[in-house]
């Protein structure tokens, strides 16, 4: 029994996006409880030259919703827009992303298979993929990378979370 491209990607993406959405509320509550400014967490970094929490959260949207929109057009490039700068705006970004993914038609994703996809940065850097390899081998590890980094930043800052808060609603039976 084979798997649709939708089944291979979207439920897993929604699982981690739902978990990340809850992490934002937990982070907001942590700030309220400890009388911390939001920016203390929203701008947190693992090391100075690494991008902050707000960028990690934005990238979860870029490598899920943005990836699907990219495949529809046949092209994807790095997103250079400013990340949302507050917990409320970050939460809204994820809510929109989750609603977008929930609204996808599995039949549309089936039609992606074998389609050409190109990833470009400016005019010099260009990599060609099939759409399914782009989603499974580029977008998906990027999504997990940024979602985990967001979790790691909050964990490092002492927010009370554990791995279950990253794994989210696991697809158990019944």
């Amino acid at each position: 029994m084979p798997l649709s491209l939708h089944a291979a990607t979207i439920p897993g993406w929604l699982q981690v996006l739902g978990a990340t959405r809850k992490l934002i509320d937990t982070a907001r509550d942590h700030c309220a409880e400890h009388d911390l400014p939001q920016a203390e967490l929203v701008d947190a970094r693992l090391i100075e030259d690494m991008l902050p929490l707000k960028y990690q959260i934005k990238s979860c949207a870029v490598h899920s919703r943005g990836a699907i929109e990219g495949v529809r057009q046949g092209t994807f490039s790095p997103d250079m827009t400013e990340p949302p700068a507050t917990f409320a705006a970050l939460a809204e970004r994820l809510d929109e992303t989750i609603a977008f993914l929930e609204g996808l038609d599995p039949a549309e994703l089936d039609r992606f298979i074998g389609r050409d996809m190109v990833f470009t940065i400016g005019s010099k850097f260009r990599r060609e993929f099939t759409a399914e390899n782009f989603l499974l081998g580029f977008s998906q590890p990027n999504l997990y990378f940024h979602a985990t980094t967001a979790y790691d930043l909050l964990r490092m800052k002492g927010v009370k979370i554990g791995k279950g808060d990253f794994l989210g609603a696991m697809p158990v039976k019944g």
Binding site: L3, R127, F129, T130, G137, P141, R155, L167, G168, P171
Partner: protein
């Protein structure tokens, strides 16, 4: 045209396991260049009560190779083996895992569909039931990326010269 369960999982695991193997080499080179004891990296943690680098790397094997073994037996649970203690031993464990995954038969994965996998934690009443495909896609896969990214994050935090491409590894580009 649908995908096989093998195509949905194993190339992605191998891509990131290859990256993690490269991170071990980067960590060795960093220790040599800075005259650091390798325990400085092997034991490093993001936070006092979080697990160290060696555990994060071991868990990449647990949530790929051992996950497949759990799908075969239908019986799953946490791995209580201790983590390899040196960069060389961590590298060797990843090499074994990569060889194991490279040898898997895609046809075997097709037999996993619909099979029961029960995850229990000995000594507790924790019990979760999955189909094998949901266990691999919804439990093993996010766990795998979680531990691989956290291993990367630890080295990055310690100043090892790496960037996201060292996590993403060899992309499945055309040709």
């Amino acid at each position: 045209m649908p995908l096989s369960l093998h195509a949905a999982l194993v190339p992605g695991w191998l891509q990131v396991l290859g990256s993690c193997r490269g991170l071990i080499d980067k960590a060795e080179a960093h220790c040599a260049a800075h005259g650091l004891d390798e325990a400085e990296l092997v034991e490093t943690r993001l936070f006092g009560d979080m697990r160290p680098f060696k555990y994060q790397i071991k868990s990449c094997t647990v949530h790929s190779r051992l996950a497949v073994e759990h799908a075969r037996s239908g019986i799953a649970g946490p791995d209580f083996n201790s983590s390899p203690e040196t960069l060389a031993a961590l590298g060797a464990q990843l090499d074994d895992t990569i060889a194991f995954l490279e040898a898997l038969d895609p046809a075997e994965f097709e037999t996993f569909f619909g099979r029961d996998v029960v995850f229990t934690i000995p000594g507790t009443d924790y019990r979760r039931e999955y189909t094998a495909e949901n266990f691999l896609l919804g439990f093993s896969r996010p766990n795998f990326h979680f531990h691989a990214t956290t291993a990367y994050a630890l080295l990055r935090m310690k100043g090892v010269a790496i960037g996201k491409v060292n996590y993403l590894g060899a992309w499945p580009t055309r040709g």
